[in-house]
Symmetry: C2
Subunit: 116 residues, 2 copies
Amino acid sequence: MKPDMKKSSTVDPSDKAITRSAAIAKALGHPVRIIILKILAERDTCFCGDITQVIPLAQSTVSQHLKALKKAGLITGEVEGVRTCYCLNPDGIQDLNRLLNDLAEELLKPTIKNCC
Amino acid sequence: MKPDMKKSSTVDPSDKAITRSAAIAKALGHPVRIIILKILAERDTCFCGDITQVIPLAQSTVSQHLKALKKAGLITGEVEGVRTCYCLNPDGIQDLNRLLNDLAEELLKPTIKNCC
DNA sequence: TATTTTTATCGTAAAATTACGATGATATGA
DNA sequence: TCATATCATCGTAATTTTACGATAAAAATA
């Protein structure tokens, strides 16, 4: 417990979990990036070119989306010669699962009683 | 931002679940909006003024965030006289829980074997 | 060595987001 | 009726996002 922290019945805005949850959600906030994650979950080979072939967007655009997913810690990118192999990042996906699960659970509880 | 995308045997980009998931995630993609949802989950009274008192942002800004959450179907807003009572929308929260749960599950499966 | 392949980055433009103050609308209270 | 309270919307500015083509960098190949 943090002693000098104001005891608030509401929410601590500096909560690290909230910041991280929002960052992950932001990364998921574009359909193409969700599709990319699904592709990475399906394939063994996961080079940028593979994704660009499936998604009708410019290579530079796909690269930007990959960068965003990497920044959020949801994927990794390892250079393999000329190409780069992108993979789901287990730690990041774990965060996604746990944090958004916790959030959903917290929000589902009072949902039983409709307030209005 | 093209709605029509090339067909893929793996991932269907026009999948309604993907679109909805991305919309929900986008709404969660800002710390303040997550905080607002948590506040709504805690309180019985949930007027805009209550939220503005807790969050150090202008009333108009809070109103915009509430609008975004409403657009995503995560909350409802019912006018009660001069004020508006905002509540979690059970259906939306259910969507949040189910869709993001499914996504996490799908992404967690291959996480056991690291691809690179 | 020269060329090709693959990907990241740069430059750019359009659109969206985020924030604010000011204003308008509407219901309540004096 | 007039004033107040509450909230949404407008107008605006700064920043971010999204997309593209062009280009640079690095490894593989001819």
